[in-house]
């Protein structure tokens, strides 16, 4: 697996810090000694064959994997996911766009309602969320006639873009994207 860094900004505030990360599930050693850091404004890509451990690393950073399964020094927006009390704060600062829309969107609800569901968890009020959502939908080229119809009627690419909008809507400090180019034209 390799990481590629594209530096855009000269600001150096460290957003993600990973040192000597090892992840084990029982006897299975999934991630071996991973080290990297991401500063504010930077974009990094994790490339690797399937089974290399890319999603596992992201899961550690997004507080999905219990501390007992990993070792190393990890910080996201300055806080370690090793401590459970940091999780709500970390989660409020990050955005996540998973690979599968099935796990990410309420297919029976419309995009606007999906936005409302997820933004409410950050304490955003409905009006603000709707405003930001509409602008994001336009940027991401989501047709207006799909905004109030159930997500199940959207095409695969539209669902992906909606996932991205939901990942971005609360203005996260760090955005994690899992296979973001799938289905995107």
């Amino acid at each position: 697996m390799r990481c590629e860094k594209i530096s855009i900004s000269k600001k150096k505030k460290e957003m993600v810090y990973v040192k000597d990360l090892n992840v084990k599930f029982g006897d299975k050693h999934v991630v071996h000694d991973v080290n990297f850091n991401v500063n504010q404004g930077e974009i990094i890509g994790l490339f690797g064959i399937s089974g290399a451990g890319k999603t596992t690393i992201v899961r550690v950073l997004t507080c999905q994997i219990e501390k007992k399964n990993w070792t190393g020094d990890v910080k996201v927006t300055g806080l370690t996911p090793a401590k459970k009390y940091n999780h709500p704060i970390i989660l409020s600062r990050i955005g996540y766009v998973p690979q599968l829309e099935l796990l990410n969107l309420y297919f029976d609800l419309s995009p606007m309602v999906n936005v409302e569901v997820f933004t409410s968890t950050y304490g955003m009020n409905k009006k603000d969320a709707k405003e930001v959502a509409e602008k994001l939908f336009r940027i991401l080229d989501l047709p207006e006639d799909t905004w109030n119809k159930p997500v199940k009627h959207m095409s695969g690419g539209e669902k992906k873009r909606l996932s991205m909008a939901i990942g971005l809507i609360h203005n996260p400090n760090v955005l994690f994207l899992d296979e973001p180019t799938t289905l995107i034209s």
Binding site: I6, I8, I43, R59, T62, C63, Q64, I65, P88, I89, L91, S92, I94, Y96, P98, L100, L102, L103, N104, L105, Y106, D108, L109, V113, E116, V117, F118, S120, T121, Y122, G123, M124, D128, V132, K135, L136, I139, P150, L168, H170, N171, D178
Partner: protein, 425 residues
């Protein structure tokens, strides 16, 4: 041929970033402290709203859950009327051996007395509970009993009444007169009615023949259903109530955790597992309140006589329904797939209804089964509702507290299991 070097595809990230950052509201204002109680309540309310939206997206399901149970009550009310007396007469035959020769075993005295045969047959005719299909004098018709048994087998009669050879002789001698009664016992529910009908004919016989002394039995019914109400409907609706409210609440909640795939994504936000589960409990409890109300309204409109208060009945039904919700969410929290949840639902539901006492009284079960039966909700729900409807009992009793205990146990364990459940996106 001209080869042109293509520029590598680059995302103009600066432009994209500037567009997105121009949208951002002031982070400090918008995203409040995640751990404040006010924010918790706000999130729970929004999650409850989400639950209602998900419920509403499946309108057929909502229709079945909310509209069908009251409709069933209405249909029960229409079909469970008190039938007129004539329709309840039980067809019978009387086979009399009384005219045969009786040999007294004490003195070997022979007699063929049959003075009391015809009075008894007249008594059977007079009885409104019996319909005499045929009278056989077995002295003249030697195959009388065989014919009677054939009729019983075919179902044309429900009971054979047989007067033995010493019927009249015993009464004349001052000994108890015996009448043999042979009811069709293949249908357990009808055995008592058959025996009661024969006893009615005996009462008439004793009255008509002035046989003394006799016990005079005066009965007073307590907790009766007043005139104008169908006793049939009122006694049987109780079983239907507990059956339905528990089942509908149970099935409504069986998939709500396991089928909600985006929970994994939702957990990557500040919302906590407790808030998610609590919102489900709240949403489905509110639906239960509606179901409860509709059930009570439909039952009262079909002529339910309520000795107790409507509040107590409402609370009792609510408790039974909530135990269904708690059980459904408990199963849903620990099931890995929808299929597993469905299977557990069926297994639990079959066991609960079979051990509820509806088909086999709990007192008739072996002790180990009784223990299991008394743990289950319906075994307490039925007597709780019965006490309130028929006797005006207060809800605050053992059955209510036991149901409450079951609910608390299931709710706590649901939270515990859900907290430990692995979710990964």
């Amino acid at each position: 041929m001209r080869i042109t070097k293509k520029k590598p595809l680059t995302l103009n990230l600066n432009k994209f970033k500037s567009k997105v950052s121009s949208l951002k509201p002031d982070t400090k204002k918008v995203i409040k402290k995640v751990s404040s109680i006010k924010n918790n309540i706000f999130r729970i309310i929004k999650q409850v709203k989400k639950e209602f939206r998900l419920l509403w997206s499946d309108k057929f399901n909502i229709f079945l859950a909310i509209v069908m149970p009251p409709l069933i009550i209405v249909f029960l009310g229409l079909t469970m009327t008190d039938a007129p007396q004539e329709a309840q007469s039980i067809p019978c035959v009387v086979v009399s051996y009384d005219s045969n020769t009786f040999i007294n075993p004490n003195d070997f005295f022979e007699s063929q007395l049959d003075n009391y045969t015809i009075p008894y047959v007249n008594a059977v005719n007079k009885s409104s509970l019996l319909e005499l299909v045929r009278f056989y004098n077995a002295t003249e018709e030697i195959y009388a009993m065989e014919q009677a048994r054939t009729a019983l087998l075919e179902g044309t009669i429900n009971v054979i009444i047989s007067l033995p050879v010493d019927f009249t002789e015993l009464i004349e001698l001052g000994l108890p007169g015996l009448i043999d009664c042979i009811p069709d016992a293949s249908k357990m529910v009808h055995i008592q009615a058959n025996i009661n009908a024969v006893y009615d004919s005996i009462k008439i016989f004793i009255n008509d023949t002035n046989l003394k002394p006799q016990f005079v039995i005066r009965g007073f019914e307590e907790f009766t259903i007043p005139e104008g109400y169908s006793s049939n409907f009122n006694t049987n609706i109780i079983m239907a109530f507990s059956f339905m409210i528990f089942g509908v609440a149970f099935v409504l909640s069986i998939l709500i955790v396991v089928q909600e795939k985006p929970i994994a994504r939702l957990l990557l936000t500040p919302v906590t597992r407790s808030e998610i589960l609590l919102s489900k409990f709240i949403a489905y409890t509110l639906v239960l309140l509606l179901q409860d109300s509709l059930l009570i309204v439909s039952a009262l409109s079909m002529g339910l006589y309520l000795a107790g208060t409507v509040t107590d009945l409402f609370l009792a039904l609510f408790m039974i329904g909530f135990s269904g919700i708690a059980m459904g969410i408990f199963i849903s929290s620990q099931s890995k797939t929808k299929t597993q949840a469905n299977q557990l639902f069926l297994a639990f539901y079959l066991v609960i209804i079979l051990l509820s006492g509806i088909f086999i009284p709990i007192e008739n079960m072996p002790p180990y089964l009784q223990v299991i039966a008394y743990i289950l909700p319906l075994s307490h729900g039925d007597p709780l509702i019965r006490g309130i409807i028929t006797k005006g009992q207060s809800i605050w009793g053992f059955h209510f507290y036991w149901l409450l205990g079951i609910c608390i146990f299931l709710v706590l364990f649901s939270f515990l299991i859900f907290k430990r459940r692995k979710y990964e996106v």
